[in-house]
Symmetry: C2
Subunit: 341 residues, 2 copies
C-alpha cells in the first residue's frame, strides 16, 4: 500500500486548496475526488487473499475469520461498539471498515500499522481477537494442500510464512474500493445524481469546515486529528489514540480521521461507537470539532449528503476454502486455555 501514500498526500493538499469550491464545480475543483475501481494486476493473489480473509482456521478457535469483524456483507465491519473476539472477548475499540482501507495513510484508529499487510498480522495473534499465533497459523496452513499449491505458485515458497499470508490478504483488501456512489456520479458531471437537498448538505459540509478533515477520495483517512478539538469529547473508552503509539502526550486523543465512504452502512460511529445514528454523529462532530450547534434541518441536510457516499459494494463469489487434510489440527473452540500454550 506504500505506493498510495505520496499520491494521497498530494491529493489531500489539492483537496484543501479547493476546500471552499461551491457545489456544481468540476470534480478537480472539489475537495473530494471520485473513487476509481481497483485495478487487479494479480488475480490469483487476490483470490488467495480472499480465501484467507474468509478462513476461520487462521484463528485459535477455528471460528473467527477476518470477515467476522470486517463483514463484507455489511459495509466491511461488524457494526458494534466493540468487537467479539476469541472466547467472546470484548475488543477495545470500534472495528474500522476494511472498505477503501488501502486509501488510509496508515491502519488502525491510531495508525500503528503502516499498511494493510502489517495490519493483517495483528488480529491473528491478538489474544482478544483471533487468539492464535503466527506460528500456529503457519503450521495450520502448511497442512492444507490447496494452500501449499497456491502459495507455491504465487510466492515460489515451499513453506507458507506469515509474510506471504498478510501480503495476500492485503492484496485482496486493496481491491475493496467502492466506486460509483451517487456523489461520485455527481462529481463526474451527472448533475441529476443528487437532489437539491443533498447538494445543500454538501455545501454545508464544506462551509462548516467538516471538509477540512474529511476530504480526498476516501473523504477522510488521510490525517490524524484530535477528538474534541474545540469542545471536550467525553468517553469512557480508554483508547488514547496516537499517544499510545508515539508516547507523545501531545497526541493524546488524536485518531485517524475515518473515511466517510459508505458511512450510512456503518453505525455506530466514532472510535468508541458512541453515536448510534448519523444525525447524532453529525451533531457531536459539529460541537466537539467545530464548536457549532447544527439545527435539525442542517443536520438532516448533511446526513442526506453523507448517504450519497454509499458506493458499489464488493461483488465476488463467496470463496470456497481448500479442505483440511488429515494432519490439519482440528480446532476446539472450547479448549482449556493452557492447552493453547
Amino acid at each position: 500500500m506504500m505506493q498510495h501514500r505520496p499520491l494521497h498526500i498530494a491529493t489531500a493538499i489539492a483537496a484543501l486548496t479547493f476546500a471552499f469550491g461551491a457545489p456544481g464545480h468540476a470534480a478537480e475543483q472539489e475537495p473530494i475526488q471520485p473513487l476509481e475501481a481497483a485495478k487487479i494486476t494479480n488475480p490469483a493473489k487476490v483470490e488467495l487473499g480472499k480465501q484467507l480473509f474468509f478462513d476461520p482456521r487462521l484463528s485459535r478457535s477455528g471460528f473467527i475469520s477476518c470477515n467476522s469483524c470486517h463483514n463484507l456483507s455489511m459495509g466491511g465491519s461488524d457494526n458494534f461498539k466493540s468487537s467479539v473476539g476469541d472466547r467472546w472477548a470484548q475488543g477495545g475499540i470500534r472495528s474500522p471498515t476494511v472498505l477503501n482501507a488501502s486509501l488510509n495513510l496508515a491502519q488502525f484508529w491510531d495508525g500503528r500499522a503502516k499498511d494493510l499487510a502489517e495490519q493483517a498480522s495483528g488480529p491473528i495473534a491478538n489474544p482478544i481477537e483471533m487468539g492464535s499465533t503466527h506460528a500456529e497459523a503457519e503450521k495450520t496452513l502448511n497442512t492444507i494442500p490447496g494452500y501449499r499449491t497456491e502459495f507455491k505458485k504465487i510466492y515460489s515458497v515451499d513453506k507458507i510464512g506469515i509474510a506471504q499470508v498478510t501480503d495476500a490478504i492485503a492484496a485482496f483488501e486493496a481491491t475493496l474500493i467502492t466506486p460509483n456512489s451517487r456523489f461520485d456520479k455527481w462529481l463526474k458531471g451527472d448533475k441529476k445524481a443528487l437532489t437539491d437537498h443533498e447538494l445543500s448538505g454538501y455545501k454545508l459540509f464544506k462551509d462548516s469546515g467538516c471538509v477540512s478533515c474529511h476530504n480526498g477520495p476516501a473523504v477522510g483517512g488521510n490525517s490524524y486529528q484530535k477528538m474534541g478539538l474545540v469542545n471536550e469529547y467525553k468517553t469512557s473508552n480508554p483508547a488514547t489514540g496516537r499517544a499510545g503509539v508515539t508516547g507523545n502526550d501531545v497526541e493524546r486523543m488524536m485518531f485517524k480521521v475515518p473515511t466517510l465512504r459508505n458511512v450510512e452502512l456503518l453505525p455506530p460511529y466514532f472510535h468508541d461507537g458512541s453515536a448510534s445514528t448519523l444525525a447524532e454523529a453529525v451533531d457531536t462532530m459539529g460541537w466537539v470539532q467545530l464548536g457549532k450547534k447544527f439545527t435539525a434541518d442542517e443536520t438532516a441536510r448533511i446526513v442526506a449528503f453523507l448517504k450519497t457516499l454509499t458506493g458499489d459494494q464488493p461483488r465476488f463469489a463467496l470463496p470456497q476454502l481448500p479442505p483440511s487434510s488429515d494432519s490439519t489440527p482440528r480446532p476446539d473452540p472450547f479448549a482449556k486455555v493452557a492447552s493453547n500454550k
Copy 2:
C-alpha cells in the same frame, strides 16, 4: 421441502432393491443416484433467503448468522465437535451440513424438525445458538426498509413474520445441492471418472453393507439407524437421538444417517464429532454398525471412494445485506443477560 419426501422414499426403496449391483452397471442399477442441480423457480425468494442466511442481525448478539455454523465456504458446517453459540456457549452436537439437506427425510440429527423451514426457526431462538427470540428477530427485520420491500414483494405482507423468514431461508437452502462429483460422473457413464482404486472402494462399500444405510442421491439422510447396532458405541455425548423426540426408549441412540456427500470436507465425524479423520470414521462404522474389522488397505479404498463424493460447491455472490435504519436496534454482544429479557 415437503414435496421432496414422497419422491425420496421411492428413491430409497429403489436404491435398496439394487443395493448389490456391481460397479460398472448403469446408474439406475446402483444404490446411489446422481444429484441434480436444484431448479430455482423463485430467484427473488432464494436471494432473500440467502441474505437472511448471512444476516447476523437475526441473532441476539448481532454476531452469529446461519452461516456461522453452516459455513458455505467450508462444506456447510463449522467442523467442530460442538458449535459456538451466543456468548461462546457450547452446543450439544456436531453441526450437520446444510449442503443437500433438502434431501433429508427430516432435519437435525434426531429428525425433530420436519423440514428446512421448521429447522431454521430453531437456532434463532435457541439460547445457546443465536440466542434471540422470534419476536426480537421480527422486530429487527421490520426496521430494515430493504427487507420490508422484499418481503412485501414476495409474500405480500406489510409486516414481516417468522413464517416468511424461515420459508425464505428454506428456499435458499434447497438450492444448496452439490452435483457433478466424480462419482456422479461415473454413475452417468464416464467410466474414466474413477480410478480402479476408488472403484474397488465403492465395491467394498456395497459388499460390506455400508450401502444399506448410505444410499439414495444423498448417500444417506433417508433413515434413522441405531448408532452401535452390532457393537456398542461409546461416547460421552449425552444426545439420545430419536428417543428424545418420541419418548420411546427403543429409539435410544437412533440418529438420522448423515449424508456422505462432500464428506471429505466435513471432519470431525459422527454426531459427537469423535472421529477426526475419514479413515477413523470408516473403521469405527465398520466395527460398531457391521461388526467388521477393515484392514488398512480396505479402509484406504473406502476412503478413496468417499472422496469422490465431493461435488460442485455452492457458487454465488456474497450477499449484500440491506442497511439498518435509525430505528434498527444496535446489538450489543456484551449486554448483561437481564437486559435481553
